[in-house]
């Protein structure tokens, strides 16, 4: 699905189309965030633009926190930033199959409040990835995208772990 607003979709509003949504802020901001991420390189998370030509599309990885079902497992994610980032949230998906209450297994879509109604420019790639990482160990079972996973989390940890491993694909390259 297209997540970056194309110029044609902005043509409804000539004012916006002329000036661009929020101008050049997005590039400067993402460059700073990339720098921050490279300098601090927090354990268990990484992210980088997919190509030199487009800073709006990133790939990343998240490794499960210790003492959780996801310990030592590493998952690929994709990050797609809208042209008016950080006013609007990036779209983040699991590319690796992820069996988790708040992740849609088929599409990789994630249900996390800070990517929706609680989104604000306070967050950045690093804080989002750290939130996602902790979501792995602390799912929100009240509004699951994967109800079976939510149910097993509460009732049967052993089967839960089996399910996680059944779907897990190790990253090879």
């Amino acid at each position: 699905m297209e997540t970056v607003r194309s110029p044609s979709k902005l043509s409804n509003s000539h004012l916006e189309a002329q000036k661009g949504p929020e101008g050049h802020m997005v590039t400067k901001r993402l460059q700073s965030e990339l720098m921050q991420l490279m300098m601090s390189s927090p354990p268990g998370i990484s992210a980088f633009p997919t190509s030199d030509s487009n800073i709006l599309e990133w790939n990343g990885t998240i490794t499960g926190p210790e003492d959780t079902h996801y310990e030592n497992l590493t998952f690929r994610i994709s990050l797609s930033f809208p042209g008016n980032y950080p006013y609007a949230a990036p779209t983040i998906k699991f590319v690796s199959p992820m069996w988790h209450p708040n992740v849609d297994l088929a599409s990789g879509q994630i249900c996390l409040d800070i990517l929706k109604e609680k989104w604000s420019a306070v967050y950045n790639v690093q804080t989002i990835l750290l939130s996602l990482q902790s979501l792995l160990g602390e799912p929100n079972n009240k509004s699951p995208l994967n109800p079976y996973a939510a149910n097993l989390w509460d009732t049967n940890p052993k089967t839960y772990k089996q399910k996680v491993m059944e779907h897990y694909q190790e990253i090879t390259d």
Partner: protein
Amino acid sequence: MHSPANYHDYTEPTGTTDGVMTPPQDDSEDLQQIDDMTVYKLTRELQDNEANKRSLIGSKLPLSVLANEYVDPSFKNKIESMASNGLYYRPIRGDGNCAWRAVLYGLLDLIGSNKEQCQLMKSLLQNYHTMILDEAGFEKIAYEDFIDSFYEILDSLIAQGPQYIESNSFLENTELQNGSIVCLRFITSAYIKTHSDSYEPFLEGESIDSYCARNIEAFSVEADHLSLAALVSALAVVSLHISYIDGSNTESETIHILNPDYYVDQTDFGSIKLLYRPGHYDLLLDP
């Protein structure tokens, strides 16, 4: 003219379907398959498209112009009684940031003709307000670009004088205005977080962090009374004078005055006047 009671819902009759939100190309998609996130994004986009047809900050008009838009006497009479005092107003775009944008313009209007006050505001941002952000744990990477937008406006105001905020290079500058609005939102959130004892009792059990994330830090979410009270205290250089107009039977508007907890370095730039009609804020100005 439009019915101001439906201010937010009103669409300019353009005669074309340009303004109507059309889903992306793959609209064969079954409605059932559209997930929450897509609905949320489409709704947001629709609101943006509607709001974008109005000026961010409209021209300064006598309040009698607004009174003439009303038929309903409960609104009309109150606005007429205010108009008789010679007040003017500037309509502010109804994009969920109206109160913030009105306060931004109101502040710039108060200090615009006095270079020393503009300089003072800039140095307060640099030293005082940034300190609150740091104290509340805001990351520099999150706020620096937005503070820069505010600096840039103040620099232009110092260089060009009050005509700068009358010029299109300011009035139509989405980037600088919105950046400064985020700056105001962050400072307000930071103030609440560093004075949580004063605000927590009003949140009906919601945590400070959650309230600030949903209502203040999130762009395009309308300011409630608590947010404005906190904004005034966070700025610590102005008071806010809000005239409430509604459909009640009273003859005149209800006035709320919000004063800061304290004025930083006894700096009092004066009072910003807002006009509130249900769901929307505009800026009131002296002649």
